[in-house]
Symmetry: C2
Subunit: 122 residues, 2 copies
């Protein structure tokens, strides 16, 4: 087996710049840990089967929900349960760690020009 190494979030975030393009930075059983940068507005979507955790590392994430908006700051996370429509918004760049089943598609129930079928591993 390969040596077990720690992962630095700052190092991972330093290795890419494009927003809305999650990178896989770890796997825990059938879950993926992803690093993603957000900038601007995403699209309203939901995930049929997957809950999704957004942990903010840097910046301010505005999570729009049909019931209202929640602002998530560094050191805070929000879990969006499966079936719940959401739209992440970032006025300035936000660094987020995502934790979700490996089966999760970034655009959930939608397939459009923002859909990424295969994610890079960093």
């Amino acid at each position: 087996m390969a040596a077990i190494e720690k992962v630095s979030l700052a190092e991972k975030f330093s290795r890419f710049s494009e927003p809305w393009s999650p990178k896989i930075i770890g796997q825990v059983n059938d879950f993926h840990v992803k690093a993603v940068k957000l900038k601007g507005e995403f699209v309203w979507h939901h995930h049929e089967k997957e809950d999704e955790l957004f942990l903010v590392v840097q910046g301010k994430l505005r999570m729009r929900l049909r019931e209202g908006e929640v602002t998530v700051n560094p050191g805070e996370f929000i879990i969006i349960p499966r079936g719940v429509e959401h739209m992440p918004v970032a006025d300035e760049e936000v660094q987020v760690v995502l934790l979700e089943p490996a089966s999760t598609l970034n655009t959930g129930n939608l397939r459009n020009e923002r859909t990424l079928e295969k994610l890079e591993r960093l």
Copy 2:
């Protein structure tokens, strides 16, 4: 459905002090997110089926492995694959976010006085 609320790691860590007693602070499908404080040495153990992610929020975690020791600092994580023996050590208090399948027992393959069968939710 209840309103979706964000979770502050600092707020969760402020609500308990005893070491080696993980608290459940979130659930993502069949995974638990836990907050735990470490102080001193734990015991050598492994988990038969569960990988385990340790994200350090504060302090310095020394993760002893049979292959050597890895020091994990704030903003860094280490994933211990199932089957791999490990012993967390904290010279000073360390705040850690654990991410692991809900089935994970803190002492893994061992049951002893440090085993916690049922975890509190914070």
